[in-house]
């Protein structure tokens, strides 16, 4: 049962085949069995999870038929959860107990979802391998010598190893999609503004977006139905009606125009990944879709622009961690300056400090025009590239990552790590919805396929992803190492 999708669990719970308490206990057992090995969770909330499960069962007995009622989920530890430690993967917030809930958390609570715990992540979501966490690296369930991807690596590993039915993630440059690809699951980043950022600890405000990490596109639709919507507490959330994202999952793909960016099938792409995506495209053609090459001429600039804009915003967003009001404070500061310097030197890890320095530099007097302003211009060009492409095609499909999961500790050079997100970053700069779904396998490691659509075309992305999953079984593959049942 724990290996089922949310859609299946929802039916089983409704039919009374299993109770939420039983299901929750099964996941808690599984966490106890495998979390030591995977390090996917930072905090496990056994007691409160079982209480929520009990409440869900009671609500169901009283006639509540909400689709996610009683289904166990894990939140990335970037979402503030009232009364529960919210660390953001950092020593800086190692002792931070949030006094309030993020809107995403609140919405899942209102839907009667059970929260199993908080998942590990790269520190302040800065990383593509989940190795920058203060709480240690997360292991990939398919091969524990490999990384799960990042920054939502804990959520992705937990879903892939069936430590939870679904999880939340956040995506600033690929942090939902790349770990989903590495862990062989479904990860969806909605359009910027579709899901509220209130209570989601900021990395780069103009790029951050929350989304579902789960086992199928259908599950992503069910989750997004709960997560999406205007929030008066987030000025950048969008006042646009929320569709029922499950309604169009089964629309026919006959005549669908799929764009294939030539820049995403160029040097640097591994042949196995290329083959898997080309096979998937052939599958779509069988469903009646038309494949067209599209040009994204500025895509080679996206990583550079991103690594100016994101660190610049981060350098300001992380200024609040100063040891004055909450979080880590150094021992016995001699004066204010000493407190600032040691608190921040000791509280932040290396990658975070590196990015704060890059961002501070990019915004400095005399450099602003050369870096920040220029990066914003590139951002507009990239957005225009997509707008032009979407005049000719309905979705754009390519690989999520140039290769499968790499070995822990194998990328020590920051730039090679930054290039991990070469296919995903442009989508954040343009604010578009995009999903990664499993589309193949190489050497026992999953391969992810990336599907992008225009602004607020979440339903289109989910429809295209769901149709692929109806015709293939890649999303049903499970890591054999985690086969043992408790």
């Amino acid at each position: 049962m724990i290996k089922s999708t949310v859609a299946e669990l929802s039916l089983a719970l409704a039919a009374g085949d299993i109770s939420s308490v039983e299901l929750t206990q099964a996941y808690l057992n599984r966490i106890a069995q495998y979390n030591g090995e995977l390090n996917a969770f930072i905090t496990v909330c056994e007691e409160s999870a079982l209480e929520q499960a009990k409440a869900a069962d009671v609500a169901r007995a009283k006639g509540d038929t909400s689709s996610l009622l009683g289904i166990p989920l894990a939140h990335k530890d970037i979402f503030c959860t009232e009364g529960i430690t919210t660390t953001c993967g950092s020593r800086m917030l190692g002792n931070f107990v949030s006094p309030y809930n993020a809107t995403v958390v609140e919405r899942f609570n209102d839907a009667g979802v059970v929260m199993l715990g908080k998942t590990n992540m790269d520190e302040f979501a800065m990383g593509s391998s989940n190795e920058t966490s203060f709480f240690g690296a997360v292991k990939n369930p398919w091969n524990t010598a490999c990384v799960p991807g990042g920054s939502s690596g804990g959520s992705a590993a937990a879903v892939a190893a069936d430590l939870c039915a679904m999880a939340t993630g956040t995506d600033t440059g690929g942090s939902i999609r790349q770990p989903a690809a590495f862990c062989g699951i479904t990860g969806f980043k909605p359009s910027y503004g579709r899901v509220s950022r209130w209570g989601m600890i900021a990395f780069a405000s103009s790029l951050d977006q929350a989304g579902p990490i789960c086992k199928s596109a259908e599950d992503a639709a069910l989750m997004l139905n709960v997560m999406a919507g205007l929030d008066s507490k987030d000025s950048t959330s969008i006042d646009k009606p929320v569709e029922d994202y499950t309604a169009t999952l089964n629309d026919s793909l006959q005549g669908l125009r799929i764009g294939v960016p030539k820049q995403h099938f160029a040097e640097g792409l591994s042949s196995e990944v290329e083959q898997a995506v080309r096979d998937a495209l052939a599958e779509y053609e069988k469903m009646g879709a038309i494949i067209k090459e599209v040009d994204l001429p500025n895509s080679h600039l996206s990583v550079s622009a991103y690594y100016v804009i994101a660190p610049a915003e981060a350098s300001a967003n992380l200024s609040r961690y100063d040891g004055v009001r909450y979080g880590y404070r150094c021992q016995d500061p001699v004066d204010l300056e000493d407190m600032y310097k040691r608190t921040r030197s000791e509280g932040f890890g290396e990658e975070v400090k590196l990015r704060i320095m890059i961002g501070t530099y990019a915004l400095s007097a005399g450099f602003y025009d050369a870096y920040y302003r220029k990066a914003q211009k590139i951002r507009r060009l990239i957005k225009d590239d997509f707008s032009n492409a979407f005049k000719e095609v309905d979705v754009i499909i390519g690989p999520t990552s140039p290769h499968t999961a790499f070995k822990l500790g194998s990328k020590s050079d920051p730039v090679s790590m930054y290039l991990e997100d070469i296919y995903t970053i442009a989508v954040n700069l343009a604010g578009l919805p995009a999903i990664s779904i499993p589309a193949g396998s190489a050497n026992g490691l999953p391969i992810g396929m990336h599907i992008v659509a225009g602004d607020f075309e979440e339903a289109k992305v989910l429809n295209v992803a769901h149709q692929f999953q109806k015709h293939t079984d890649w999303h049903r593959n499970k890591p054999s190492a985690m086969a043992k049942e408790a």
Partner: protein, 476 residues
């Protein structure tokens, strides 16, 4: 060498909104430390700003009132610096696209001359909290009640040439802000704060000299003193062969001097960039027109109208329009009493004197304008003399009964019965034969003395005009 002073002012006013610029916390002054700080004001992780539209309205109102350009699209920026009373580590302000652009206001100097002073811009920003430097077990305290309070920073052009002009500009600004009711603008409480940029140059020179910025000036009087002190200091430095260093200086009112801030207190690179948590503010012509339509009559046009409508002197009109409340009070008195000139005298002298003596706002005054109007009407219809009216005015402070009841109760009604007056006049002529003789010999001014005697005899109740006329008649 003859020097010319060049001054520009940066004035911060706290916009009088109920809640903060980006959070729902109260902005009330004087609460217990940190009782008005929400999770956003504390900059807890994950919290986000939402613009208070009331603050925007007030900023636009100011811009419209001084005829400034209003930006259809304005943008908030982050101004980055570390300080314990700045919880986010950045202040949200407006750098390149302020809500209010170029405008101007006219100031009138004591000699009646007028100067038009340019306003470069006015932008919205959030206030910081307060560091409490009294000792808390070896540590400093932080009070975040003020953190996030909306400010409007109004920046003038370097158009001011004397400390007196600077004060006149500041007072004019204060008057406009109070008329618009967008801020309490109380300098002593910090809801209006002034920084002055001061430089000097040889008379006739067109280039600006190096300027210093003076902070911490918290009264109109200190603005004048601080600028004058700084001008003298700069002259001495230059005349001694030195050079002015561009720096920020603090005004010390106790010592009446300015001194440089420690270099650590002067941050240099604020690394401004657009605030990504807020969308640009976009407003249209209708929005601006709606605010324009709600503007009250502003002091300058009110003054002109008072001079025309009520035939007042420039000076009287200026005193009466100094606050909106005073002007409104005056108009009630003028209209209901039927004598605008007399009303102006009473309001600008007796009433204002009373307010100043008791340190009252006009709203606190126990004498309502309708009552004062009745008092003036009784002077005008000869029920009481002007002198008696002063006594009635005093009595009105104590008594809640009507003006007529006070006059009746105290027997203060003026004697206009000519029989009564004839008796008094006869007595005065009898009692003062010398003066009567002098008058008859042509010494006209004795009449004043004789009228005074008659008034005394009547205990002030005789109509002085009648007495005067009758005396003259009898002494023919």
């Amino acid at each position: 060498m003859e020097w010319e002073t060049v001054i520009g002012l940066e004035v911060h006013v706290q916009l009088s909104t109920k809640s903060k610029l980006f959070s729902g916390s109260s902005t009330k002054f004087g609460a217990e430390p940190n009782t008005q700080a929400s999770i956003f004001d504390l900059a807890l992780p994950g919290t986000l700003p939402v613009l208070n539209e009331e603050a925007l309205k007030k900023a636009v109102k100011f811009g419209v009132a001084i005829g400034a350009e209003i930006s259809k699209r304005s943008v908030f920026d982050r101004k980055n610096y570390f300080y314990p009373d700045l919880p986010k580590g950045y202040q949200v302000s407006q750098l390149d696209y302020p809500t209010v652009g170029k405008g101007s206001l006219t100031v009138t100097m004591d000699d009646g001359s007028e100067r038009v002073i340019g306003v470069t811009r006015a932008h919205m920003e959030e206030d910081a909290g307060k560091s409490l430097h009294k000792d808390y077990h070896g540590m400093s305290g932080i009070d975040l009640n003020r953190a996030g309070t909306p400010l409007l920073e109004i920046v003038s052009e370097p158009d001011l040439r004397t400390a007196k002009e600077a004060v006149a500009y500041l007072k004019k600004l204060h008057r406009i802000i109070r008329y618009l009711d967008i801020s309490d603008a109380i300098m002593a409480e910090g809801s209006m704060r002034c920084d002055a940029n001061v430089s000097i140059r040889p008379k006739g020179e067109t280039e600006f000299g190096t300027r210093t910025e003076i902070k911490n000036i918290n009264s109109f009087r200190f603005v004048e003193k601080a600028i004058n002190h700084e001008v003298r200091r700069q002259q001495e430095v230059i005349e001694d062969g030195g050079r002015i260093v561009q720096e920020t200086r603090l005004y010390d009112a106790d010592k009446d001097e300015t001194r440089p801030m420690r270099s650590k207190e002067v941050a240099n690179d604020y690394r401004y960039f657009p605030e990504p948590d807020l969308l640009p503010i976009v407003i249209d012509d209708d929005y601006i027109a709606a605010i324009k339509a709600q503007l009250p009559e502003m002091p300058d046009s009110k003054k002109i109208r008072f001079i025309e409508q009520y035939a007042l002197s420039d000076y009287d009109a200026d005193v009466l329009v100094s606050t909106r409340e005073m002007a409104e009070y005056y108009e009630v008195v003028a209209q209901q009493s039927g004598d605008a000139k007399l009303a102006a005298n009473w309001v600008s002298q007796d009433l204002l004197g009373l307010l100043n003596k008791n340190n009252w706002d006009i709203a606190d005054c126990p004498i309502q304008p309708e009552r004062l109007a009745v008092l003036i009407a009784r002077i005008k219809d000869n029920t009481i003399s002007g002198k008696i009216a002063k006594a009635v005015f005093e009595a009105m402070l104590e008594e809640t009964i009507s003006v007529d009841e006070i006059i009746a109760a105290k027997g203060l009604k003026q004697v206009t019965d000519s029989g009564e007056i004839e008796k008094i006049v006869a007595q005065v002529i009898d009692n003062n034969p010398d003066q009567v003789q002098q008058y008859k010999e042509g010494k006209q001014q004795v009449i004043g003395f004789l009228v005074g005697q008659a008034m005394q005899l009547s205990k002030g109740k005789a109509n002085p005009a009648q007495v005067n006329a009758l005396l003259r008649e009898k002494m023919q």
